[in-house]
């Protein structure tokens, strides 16, 4: 494998020398909701993917051959990068929302500022697992409905009720293919995090 430095684009690979702080926000949601698209839209680098291999994820898998066999699960994490100032860089991690990836969740949520939950209005019921995980790991979150078409079937307030969101939890719409729209959704999350932080101080 060629190192990225060899393709002449080193400036696009590495962080500026002045960067000192790295922040992390999770982009979560069910399968095929648009997490990878969102990360790709926002990232200043070609989004990267890495794998984490787990050997103890088989706890819920029926294994008739006995305890001697380990089950190996591989979880792919897509992530991107956004340099926000001379000293600050933000990483966005697309995180699968299945309960059986709990081990990876532990790793992912440490130090995360918060999470943006992407929701497909036609399949919002598939989001309960991921919202449950965020609450279990105490990660504050905002909800963004991806490619909301204003369908009368699921107006936002109905979705809020259906998802059983707290009154304070932001519920916004976004188009994960559009940078301005995706940025707005992230800003809604960060404003909410500020509100929570100021309440903690009070």
């Amino acid at each position: 494998m060629a190192l990225p430095v060899s393709d002449g684009a080193a400036a696009d690979v590495y962080l500026a020398d002045s960067v000192k702080i790295a922040a992390k926000i999770l982009i979560v949601g069910h399968f095929a909701v648009g997490k990878t698209t969102f990360v790709g839209t926002m990232s200043e680098i070609r989004p990267l993917s890495t794998e984490e291999t787990m050997t103890q994820a088989g706890a819920h898998v029926d294994d008739l051959t006995g305890a001697g066999r380990k089950t190996t699960t591989t979880v792919a994490l897509d992530f991107g990068r956004l340099t926000l100032s001379d000293r600050l860089v933000l990483y966005l991690f697309g995180t699968p929302g299945q309960q059986r990836f709990a081990q990876v969740w532990k790793d992912m949520t440490v130090g995360a500022l918060g999470a943006l939950v992407l929701i497909d209005p036609q399949r919002f019921d598939q989001s309960f697992d991921v919202i449950g995980l965020l609450e279990e790991y105490d990660v504050p979150y905002a909800v963004a409905v991806n490619r909301f078409d204003g369908s009368v079937e699921h107006p936002l307030e109905k979705l809020r009720a259906a998802l059983d969101l707290l009154p304070d939890t932001p519920l916004v719409t976004c188009d994960a293919r559009d940078r301005a729209s995706s940025t707005e959704a992230l800003m809604a999350l960060v404003r909410y995090l500020q509100l929570r932080a100021s309440k903690e101080l009070a």
Partner: protein, 122 residues
């Protein structure tokens, strides 16, 4: 034919992660996380015998600052493996983490404001 030394360079796909880490599942240093920023230190690695993955890792980190997650992504290695290899390179003084600004000096409210300001400038 079978003695081609370059055949090893893409071994990461073929070699089990615990072989690369010599059986270790955990790094010698705690506290390395996905967004820890790492960089190679100036110095000579020749006294150390490095495995092929560590050699690639060091070459990558010589170019500038990257997060642990980016190192893993560029090298196509699992994050757990990269943490173990990075810890070893830190122990031998070939790689260092960029010292983060202590939390006490950067309150969460200030960090969030900087994130928000940065997003607003995009």
């Amino acid at each position: 034919m079978t003695d081609d030394p370059t055949a090893k360079s893409d071994a990461a796909d073929l070699v089990r992660p615990y072989v690369i880490t010599r059986g270790r599942g955990h790094p010698t240093r705690a506290g390395l996380d996905l967004v820890s920023l790492v960089i190679a230190l100036p110095g000579d690695e020749s006294p150390h015998i490095l495995d092929p993955e560590s050699t690639r890792l060091l070459a990558l980190c010589r170019g500038g600052i990257l997060s642990v997650a980016e190192v893993a992504g560029h090298l196509a290695l699992p994050i757990g493996v990269v943490k173990v290899l990075l810890s070893d390179l830190m122990d031998t003084g070939l790689v260092a983490t960029r010292r983060p600004i202590p939390a006490a000096e950067l309150p969460k409210t200030q960090l969030l404001q900087e994130v928000l300001d940065g997003l607003a400038r995009l």
